[in-house]
Point group: C2
Chain length 471, copies 2
Amino acid sequence: MRPAPDLIERIRGIVGSAGLIGSPEEVLPYATDWRKRYRGKPAAVVKPASTAEVAAVVRACAESRTAIVPQGGNTGLCGAATPDASGSQVVLNLSRMNRVRAIDARNNTMTVEAGCVLASLQKTAEEAGRLFPLSLAAEGSCEIGGNLSTNAGGTAVLRYGNARDLVLGLEVVLPSGEIWDGLRALRKDNTGYDLKQLFVGAEGTLGVITAAVLKLFPPPRSRATAVVALEDPEHALELLKRTLEGCGERLTGFELFSDFCLSLVLKHFKDVAPPFARRFPHYVLMELSDTRPGEAVARIAEDTLSAALEARGILDAAIAQSDAQARAFWKLREFISEAQAHEGPNIKHDVSIPISQIPEFIRATDAELARAHAGVRMVTFGHLGDGNLHYNVSAPEGVEPDVFVKQMAAINLIVHDSVARFRGSISAEHGLGQLKREEIRRYKSSLELELMRKIKAALDPHGIMNPGKVL
Amino acid sequence: MRPAPDLIERIRGIVGSAGLIGSPEEVLPYATDWRKRYRGKPAAVVKPASTAEVAAVVRACAESRTAIVPQGGNTGLCGAATPDASGSQVVLNLSRMNRVRAIDARNNTMTVEAGCVLASLQKTAEEAGRLFPLSLAAEGSCEIGGNLSTNAGGTAVLRYGNARDLVLGLEVVLPSGEIWDGLRALRKDNTGYDLKQLFVGAEGTLGVITAAVLKLFPPPRSRATAVVALEDPEHALELLKRTLEGCGERLTGFELFSDFCLSLVLKHFKDVAPPFARRFPHYVLMELSDTRPGEAVARIAEDTLSAALEARGILDAAIAQSDAQARAFWKLREFISEAQAHEGPNIKHDVSIPISQIPEFIRATDAELARAHAGVRMVTFGHLGDGNLHYNVSAPEGVEPDVFVKQMAAINLIVHDSVARFRGSISAEHGLGQLKREEIRRYKSSLELELMRKIKAALDPHGIMNPGKVL
């Protein structure tokens, strides 16, 4: 069912021609996700310039029971921001709402609109002598409204938490078109239900986040980055324990990757160098940082790694001697996803497990996959410090993409059933969107799904907010 | 309306005689809050020993539409755990559910039952070489289920967050009597709405928390505690900024108190000493801690305070030279509440304000109170690092308690209206309970209250969970 033309005209009246994407070609980028796995056909793509415009558009849609698909930088990995193919859904893109409304360095907060690009907010914070720590691969184009709607994770969660932990207040346009002003800049507020928590991570199914009060931090002024060679994930866990106990909050990053990951990066990228003269089974990229300047944090890294070497907990370690070398170390980790894509087809999993169980999870799941799908190559890496693995499965050498992709459901089943046995999560930081909406029913109790549906029905009784996503 | 006797018998069948408080005298401590401001008359006081028993009791109550008042250590300050006087409500006390179900030091988590006393959990964590950082005045008797239900704050929020930030998973008995097992021990989980957030801070109005997975941290192994003398709160704010920028996550506590607070402590307690030979208008109690042992953190404290002295940001500073002296410094802060009670009647406020606005809030509100209620004495202290003030008003000298207490509503109105003008919260860490249930309607938008009621109706359609509290 397409919305009546008068809805589109009403929307044009609200946002003007600048706020309504016209031609089918211009609509295209908004109608598909960036990995091109979902292609939708929206009734319209609307780009409001203010909260009042968002509210008016949502009200118009609500009155005609027209479905709304909120969209930010459109960098999501689960299709949550892509409309369906019915031609009846309105894409509500927040990109034009990109003002920083206020920055309060003494309160360590900034109030920003949903369409602000993450990297630009990192820069805004930096210019105010502060750190906004959320950091992830898409930061050059993802927008904070989307980051909050998916409760984004990234590389600094270990120290600063997920997106949820970085927000103090929200402004939300509700499915009725009413504006909820929850833009509080308070560290403590116990006056009833913490409603903002509902909208963070809801992937646009309960309302449209239009602005947020974000936490800022004192910026680190010294840093130590190291690559550590290890026998196996068990030793990585021991190193994590040792580092946390010895370095506490200085530990900012703790990333695990296997030698196969490294080999892919070295094979597909020219400007990277191996961290050691010889190769080892596993590596950890570790970063310490401190708000104090000077050499202390580097000495602490050295002490920690020397002690670990002595205790035979690790096989070798290299501490970056310059910023350039630190960046080079990070590339080894950051290029894995792309290297893996160059290598051929792969099936990705974004899982989390209690950290203590990760070695056993990898052992058990590797073995099961090897039995069922001989020759698959495990591309195991991730944020070990958060218990978050990107546990990806590459096709056996020489296998055609089409053939391998047919095994996706079977491989997902093995991996995610294993995750469930370890009481883990089948989506640690990417969300459900359309991608895992069906699959999650296998792993969440019917009681929990029912609770989610009750919340949804209470806040969005007509089901117009991003239907077909999450639940 | 009293519940039918057969409900009580049915409950006895579930929990046995050990789980049902019998005589009216035994019931008494469960029927009033510890400040004795609310006295209720329960139909029964039930103390189940397991989640299954809680579920069965709730189911029995749900079937007969009997109201349930969940209760932990009964140390709350807003009457949330006290039944009404109708004789129809069942108090569900969780104290017998006090097992530590699991401790996973490598995952930095422990799974505990709601009735565990906070201090005992601190000890459990310590024995496992970990820190459970939640710490507050009532820790010797409050229970973790209550801490979570009120989203307790305390003295370490600045570094470790509120109770909400310390929980990874919950087990909850829903108003239907069903058990929701959300006991996940994961740092990242983006598979739908984060339901645990609803129950944290809901003060028992949405369900009964029966168990939780709590976060653990590496324990600090060095500490520096200082009392700093300052001209005014503005300088305290400058010191906070300087300390955060220079010391980062080491800053564990930052407590402000006025000289009048100090004078009350010195007057009413014998075993305390003033921190300086002379007196100053304001003081900050500051604590740094570090997971690394040694003198480094003390040197950092010295450097920071020397620089502040040099810049004339502070008037004097004393760094504790021993653990005993550090404890003595903390007493100056911790004894304020009790000293104030000895001094006579007072009207307490637990407010939060954006940190940057605190000096102006104190100035403006002090002036307004002085105009309207000549002679009142301000007992201003609190967790400045969190923007949380215990902004208390003591009676003018010589005024009778009865006379002063009659001014409570007028004084609350001045203080809380001022809080609202600064976009603050009228309950930073104590909750609403019965105490502020009516008052909050003046300060929260009708839209927000309506959202809260929708959530309540969705989860507790018959309104049996702690009616008359929060909303």
